[in-house]
């Protein structure tokens, strides 16, 4: 089972997206564990994560987070801002699972 962690400044709007992604996963029968956390708690959850998605408002930390976590085998990406805005759970989930 893939474990996806979403990060934004306070973990508020991302948690909304998590709900939508979970619904999309359930609909197509994909087993995933998705959670939203504030950026400050990233260290705590790093060991329990396969895919790390950054909300566009913290996208500027991408390079730093990539160098920190990619060596551990975690895939890192920023969520497309319009998909984020439209809370398009299906598209974001698909993007996450297709990450290489």
């Amino acid at each position: 089972m893939k474990r996806i962690t979403l990060i934004c400044a306070a973990g508020m709007s991302t948690s909304l997206l998590v709900t939508k992604m979970n619904a999309a996963a359930e609909k197509s029968g994909i087993l995933v564990k998705i959670r939203a956390i504030p950026e400050s708690e990233i260290l705590k959850y790093a060991d329990d994560t396969d895919i790390l998605l950054l909300g566009p408002q913290v996208g500027y930390t991408l390079t730093k987070i990539k160098t920190l976590y990619e060596p551990k085998g975690i895939k890192v990406a920023v969520i497309n801002s319009v998909d984020y805005g439209m809370m398009n759970g299906e598209k974001v989930l698909k993007m996450a699972l297709e990450l290489k």
Binding site: M12, Q57, Y60, S81, V82, G85
Partner: protein, 440 residues
């Protein structure tokens, strides 16, 4: 309409993010977030003692209940500096991947060492006490300084290995307290040294010196109308580049300053005196961040009820419920407002216009000043206005919704027409690559 390449954007964002990601600033803001919980609890008790219901206030003052209700206020809002000293020292050590607990304890102790205590004689016995004066909002700046300094020294000693090493076989908890002995002595001695130096200074204490020379002048600057404009502009421009401007601007120094101004108002409110400040953290919550940064509630309403394009109709309906609870990232990224020149002007103008109106009507006394009570930030407008002191504040908040509608009307029409034409041409979500800043 790609305006800025994603590489350039990342550079801009990284540059702006440096400030927010600074370890010291992050520790302060992290501590402020943690302090909000006790302060909100205390604020609710402040409200209880000041409910505008005469039967209730008569009842609690006659029965003496009022003094009991004030106890939680004393040990939440009135000990903010004490909490901050611990939490800041804790957070900073954690950011250096060191054990935060001992660092926090040392931060608290050092803060108390520099803080002047008092002595009274009761029944021929001398009793020492810690006055609330300096462990509340007035001492916040010293708490920040001492908390950061203590934690930094603590981390330095652990990193350099200047610790007493226990032989193997000693239980880890015992070893831990020995490990922190040297940094413990050093920080406490240093704090004592600072306390002694300032005792013989004209100010009498570090707290008084910092309050007179730093905190008061800074608050004077922060509370002015000009600074209101600058804060609004800075937040708006940061968000325009897709960065969480609110967090960045209120991180570090701005947050504690605005918070102490609210606390001053709250203390005056509780004592039934005139409120000293127009601006404070809650001023922003009440008039500027309602429905989220940029006062986008008008835009959300326009989208939900007047959009021709399917894209904006869906977005509007998605955003109205979250906007009620002051969350508006969907509209910021979904419209998009980020990097969209059409939206830049209304996005900056709406909060500036709103703060200007609010500042003006408060200054002339048409609407009362905000009582400084700290509310949970997702509280909807109207309710928050009443709790912040008056139904008049609530009415003014609803008036701002019309301001927002007016400001966003023309740009909305333009964006909607464009989206509608694209949809008619057959491609839905046609704008999704117009601002593809994140797919790299």
């Amino acid at each position: 309409m790609k305006m800025i390449s994603s590489k350039t954007l990342e550079k801009i964002q990284a540059g702006m993010g440096v400030f927010a990601n600074n370890k010291y600033i992050k520790s302060v803001s992290n501590a402020m977030i943690l302090i909000m919980t006790p302060i909100i609890v205390g604020s609710i008790f402040t409200l209880l003692t000041n409910l505008p219901i005469k039967a209730w206030t008569d009842f609690i003052s006659k029965t003496g209940l009022v003094d009991l209700i004030k106890i939680p206020v004393s040990f939440t809002s009135n000990i903010t500096a004490l909490l901050a000293a611990f939490l800041i020292a804790y957070s900073l050590a954690e950011r250096f991947n060191k054990d935060g607990l001992m660092s926090g304890v040392l931060g608290l102790i050092c803060f108390l060492i520099v803080t002047p205590t008092g002595q009274v004689k009761i029944n021929d016995k001398m009793i020492s006490y810690i006055p609330f004066d300096w462990i509340g909002p007035k001492g916040l700046f010293v708490a920040i300084l001492i908390g950061l300094l203590t934690a930094r020294i603590y981390v330095f000693f652990i990193e350099k290995g200047f610790i007493i090493k226990m032989p193997e076989g000693v239980p880890p908890n015992v070893a831990r307290s020995f490990n922190t002995l040297i940094p413990g002595f050093v920080t406490v001695i240093l704090a004592l040294f600072i306390a002694i130096i300032f005792k013989f200074s004209p100010y009498g204490s570090l707290n008084q010196a910092v309050f007179t020379c730093i905190q008061t002048p800074l608050q004077g600057l922060t509370g002015s109308y000009i600074s209101l404009l600058i804060i609004n502009l800075a937040i708006g421009i940061l968000w325009f580049f897709g960065i969480h401007g609110t967090v960045i601007v209120f991180n570090g120094i701005m947050g504690p300053l605005l918070l102490s101004m609210d606390m001053q108002n709250q203390a005056a409110y509780q004592a039934g005196q005139a409120l000293p400040n127009i601006v404070g953290m809650e001023f922003f919550r009440a008039y500027v961040f309602m429905s989220g940064t940029g006062l986008t509630i008008g835009l959300a309403l326009l989208m939900a009820f007047f959009a021709k394009s399917k894209q904006y109709k869906i977005l509007g309906r998605l955003v109205i419920p979250t906007s009620i609870f002051n969350i508006n990232e969907p509209i910021t990224f979904g419209t998009p407002i980020v990097l969209n020149p059409v939206m830049l002007i209304p996005y900056l103008a709406a909060p500036i216009l709103s703060s200007t109106i609010a500042y003006a009507v408060t200054a002339i006394g048409l609407v009362p000043r905000i009582n400084g009570v700290q509310l949970p930030w997702p509280l909807p407008i109207g309710i928050s206005g009443v709790l912040l002191g008056s139904w008049k504040i609530a009415v003014l908040q609803f008036f701002m919704v019309f301001v927002s509608l007016a400001v966003y009307y023309i740009p909305f029409r333009y964006m909607d027409r464009k989206a509608y034409e694209l949809e008619k041409a057959g491609s839905s979500y046609a704008t999704s690559d117009s601002c593809d800043v994140s797919a790299r």
